[in-house]
């Protein structure tokens, strides 16, 4: 295997209207076994994927949002959410699921996985990646 690359999964769609969000998570979970430098980005309607209180029962779809809460256990600990995308949809950080991980380099202290960043910061972050998966 080559050197470690910076992998970013870019989530741009709402969770249930299409299958992209669910199948993106499946790639993230498999990819976690490959020991790359992984992060997730949530932009546009993708920010709805992290909304608290999801319930798919009326549309006969499985609520897969608990998988996001398990990401920390897979060492997927960097979830970047674009501030402007939240604001444009009337959302704030408080509307999202609380997602945390235990930092093994800091005495297993519980830390927040979600990092709200500006559109300009997101642009820089995308530019730094080696591999971008778009969903």
């Amino acid at each position: 295997m080559s050197d470690i690359k910076k992998f970013m999964y870019v989530n741009r769609r709402a969770p249930y209207g299409t299958v992209y969000a669910l199948e993106s998570l499946e790639v993230v979970l498999i990819g976690a076994a490959f020991d790359q430098d992984v992060s997730l980005a949530f932009i546009g309607d993708g920010v709805f994927q992290l909304k608290a209180g999801q319930n798919g029962s009326d549309s006969d779809q499985k609520n897969f949002s608990p998988i996001y809460q398990a990401l920390g256990d897979y060492d997927v600990t960097k979830l970047y959410v674009e501030k402007e995308s939240l604001e444009e949809r009337g959302l704030t950080l408080e509307d999202l699921m609380p997602l945390t991980y235990e930092d093994e380099d800091d005495d297993y202290e519980e830390k927040d996985s979600i990092r709200v960043i500006s559109r300009a910061e997101m642009t820089d972050l995308l530019d730094q990646q080696d591999v971008l998966f778009n969903f």
Binding site: K5, F7, Q36, V131
Partner: protein, 130 residues
């Protein structure tokens, strides 16, 4: 340059697989390498040998198969996405008790690890879709 290609949309409905095909063909003609073509989401529908377009239209599945044969391409269909959408090979038919197969022999069904591996080992991952 070594490229990996991911196709996320099905044939005829969407241009993604056409663009991916022309990209792959042009890259190979220029001497570049295609390490793997990976079909995901509705892109798995590009692998069914049952596809029958009108005679005056391009045959997207056969076109990929011919390119793969000429350049010895590794074309992989995601197993989880394929199961959801009814793309079946002999092994999957046996495992899941299905009475038919429909995959074109130019493609093989495997896991998402093949996509990650291709992204790690290639210089560029090209994603075709919306």
């Amino acid at each position: 340059m070594k490229y990996a290609i991911q196709i996320n949309e099905g044939p005829y409905q969407h241009q993604a697989t056409d663009t991916a095909y022309h990209f792959a063909k042009a890259a190979l003609e220029k001497g570049h390498e295609i390490s793997r073509v990976f079909l995901y989401h509705d892109g798995v529908n590009n692998s069914t040998r049952i596809t029958t377009p009108p005679q005056d239209d391009r045959h997207i599945v056969n076109r990929w198969a011919e390119l793969a044969e000429k350049h010895n391409l590794d074309m992989v269909v995601c197993v989880a996405a394929a199961q959801r959408r009814g793309i079946v090979d002999d092994g999957e038919a046996q495992r899941n008790g299905k009475d038919a197969t429909n995959i074109h022999p130019a493609f093989r069904i495997s896991g998402l690890g093949q996509l990650i591996e291709a992204a790690v080992e290639s210089d560029r991952l090209m994603v075709f879709g919306d």
